[in-house]
Amino acid sequence: MKLLEFLKRERKKSASVAKERLQIIVAHQRSQRGQPDYMPLLERELLEVIRRYVHVDDDAIQISLDSEDNCSVLELNVTLPKS
């Protein structure tokens, strides 16, 4: 039975794995395009500050900078764990 399953199992082609990985990383890169160079550091330091008070995961923080006509808005989104 095991052998039959093994034979029937289709190996996932490496090219499609490559494509999926690229789609994710490229989407991530694009979301950072045009953002100032200090953003990754700002994000890390903000995370450190928050962690002094609450424990949050690495991916619990999202920041983005949007420019409008005459001002920029820094949006900070932190998901806190249920207390």
């Binding site: 082609k13 490496s14 090219a15 490559a18 494509k19 690229l22």
Partner: protein, 272 residues
């Protein structure tokens, strides 16, 4: 007025210099007055691929620093009329390149040529930055391989933000995708990203597809750009690429696996 085209990629070893040499040769063969500039200061190689390494006297940095004139530094190609090479410096470091210097050289060349090709070094530092800064168009050389595709996307980001066109709010740099080292047999077996995968991920127009070819190494061994090897697959693929660059419609070739005939299987097949 010349069109300035940067040949770039981010990642090293994907075929920028081979492509810059082949495309500039192709443009000159089509009667376009072309100059190809090596921006890889400290690691010049374009001269070797173009087969003029023993005729280099002055280089890009000499011209920028006023030690030689452009006419002294540029090398006339021996095989094609209308083709010139401006080599990079071998001894200076990359900080010898200045933005003002590069701008001045390009301004001077613009009046004299139809096409100026800038062969960018790998990476995203000074040389690469200056090679793309004044570009009107960009040829992004990409291999069907994850790190190359990712780096190409990074370069596309910079073309859209760190060029003169982007900074001055002019029409954006026209981006072209050139896929090199493509192996149709591995694509068919599912172990290589397909042409359409790469197009979909990078979302730019395809300018050409160059198959992995023995002719490329043969060409660089001899210092004769592969475009001159008109019987080879890579030579023909570059010729098609040049036609598309000139605005002609060309059907895509060499992207599908060739079935070998019985005869060619028996006798080793045709020269590729």
């Amino acid at each position: 007025m010349a069109k300035i085209i940067v040949v770039t990629s981010g990642k090293g070893g994907v075929g920028k210099t081979t492509s810059a040499a082949a495309i500039s040769t192709g443009l000159a063969l089509r009667g376009k007055k072309t100059v190809v500039i090596d921006f890889d200061v400290g690691l010049r190689n374009l001269d070797l691929i173009m087969g003029c390494e023993r005729r280099v006297v002055y280089d890009l940095v000499n011209v920028i620093q006023g030690e030689a004139g452009l006419n002294q530094a540029r090398i006339r190609d021996k095989r094609v009329e209308n083709l010139f090479i401006l080599p990079a410096s071998q001894t200076r470091d990359k900080d010898a390149l200045t933005q003002e210097g590069v701008e001045k050289i390009l301004e001077q060349l613009k009046g004299d040529f139809d096409y100026i090709l800038c062969d960018s070094p790998a990476g995203i530092e000074r040389g690469a930055q200056l090679a793309m800064y004044y570009a009107d168009e960009a040829i992004v050389v990409t291999n069907p391989e994850v790190s190359s595709v990712r780096d190409s996307d990074r370069i596309l980001g910079r073309l859209g933000s760190k060029t003169q066109r982007a900074e001055q709010g002019l029409d954006p740099v026209k981006e072209h995708l050139l896929i090199t080292r493509y192996k149709p047999a591995r694509v068919t077996s599912g172990d290589m990203l397909t042409l359409d995968d790469i197009r979909e991920i990078l979302a730019i127009d395809l300018l050409g597809l160059i198959p992995e070819s023995e002719a490329v190494l043969r060409a660089s061994n001899q210092g004769v750009p592969v475009t001159h090897d008109a019987s080879s697959d890579a030579g023909q693929a570059y010729t098609d690429t040049v036609s598309r660059l000139l605005g002609e419609e060309m059907p895509l070739r060499f992207h599908e696996m060739q079935r070998k005939s019985l005869l060619s299987r028996m006798f080793g097949g045709s020269r590729r």
